[in-house]
Symmetry: C2
Subunit: 200 residues, 2 copies
């Protein structure tokens, strides 16, 4: 049985940890940041710039590294975003064709829809996401609760916009996933071990 | 570890089957229709009438069996509904206090919120729910797809209204559950075995 898993997650929900642990249990590849690195390599855009584009953050200046195929277009930001999405689509399809894997974010659930992956979505209530953020990122200690909350909401809003733009679907809507897992009260280690059983 | 599980489900999603199998795996009590039977017993209302009330179906005539405590109120239907809900709350709290159990529907996730049960919600896409309905209820063979779809939607709409009225929460909103499980592509036997592992 082929093991292709996609995982969407709210910021601070522990989705990445769950994904990493699940991939370890199953002995399959885990892709997250690696996809951006590969896009950057293939397009000659800087990784940071690719990251900005896929997270739909405000872009204050033009990119430093612009590859041949992406140069001088009428709406450079949108066109680049679409070119990056096209590249991302190829990379994700290649990865899933090569070997069993778990892919975090990047509309992979939609891009791989023909392969019928197991589509996970990981979420949590705001209090537990904030607690997790503070635990994981001590550098955020200076942020007030209000600032941290704003930051978390902004990240998820951008993810939702990006997902909706490319898939026409609502990000986080349970209809688009097979299992939606609330980590507010959960032990992520245990959840990963349990979900792995679906393939055993 | 106490095993208290609540399970909400869309009509036709196989949620009851999943609940029954999960309870079997864990060797715990399974309550569904039994709660209505107990309400009927305690209130002297007919079971069918209780069922009508809790499913918020149109009531065409006054009940035949009306108990002492529920007799002659200004808005008899609403008041009875609330009296039944109060009875249901007691029964569900008693059941959960007595022994480990799985309770289907009846706002049990909300009623037992202090006990922090594992809150499941089971759903599926419309096509697979329709297929399941036809498989399970051969007497529905005469219904056209359109009629069956209408019937399914009406049941869920009533469940949603009832849940929202008593809990102030949105029925099926993943924020209110720990695991939301889409059975469209799933093998319910396997899902039950996997979820049981959460308690093992």
């Amino acid at each position: 049985m082929k093991k292709i898993i996609t995982l969407g997650r709210e910021f601070g929900s522990g989705g990445r940890e769950l994904g990493r642990r699940l991939a370890e249990h199953l002995g399959i590849a885990y892709y997250d940041q690696e996809i951006l690195t590969e896009i950057a390599k293939r397009t000659s855009l800087s990784e940071q710039y690719v990251h900005q584009i896929v997270e739909h953050r405000p872009i204050t200046s033009y990119p430093i590294h612009v590859g041949r195929s992406l140069y001088a277009m009428p709406n450079p930001i949108l066109e680049q975003s679409q070119a990056i999405y096209a590249e991302q689509t190829h990379i994700i399809q290649e990865l899933a064709a090569e070997a069993d894997c778990l892919i975090v974010g990047r509309c992979a659930d939609y891009i791989l829809r023909e392969q019928k992956p197991l589509r996970l979505f990981v979420y949590a209530d705001e209090a537990s996401k904030m607690a997790r953020c503070r635990l994981r990122a001590p550098e955020k200690e200076q942020l007030s609760d209000r600032e941290l909350r704003q930051q978390m909401r902004a990240v998820d809003k951008n993810r939702a916009r990006y997902y909706e733009f490319y898939t026409g679907q609502t990000w986080g809507d349970k209809a688009n996933y097979d299992w939606c897992i609330n980590t507010s009260r959960a032990d992520i280690k245990q959840v990963a071990a349990v979900v792995a059983k679906l393939f055993m």
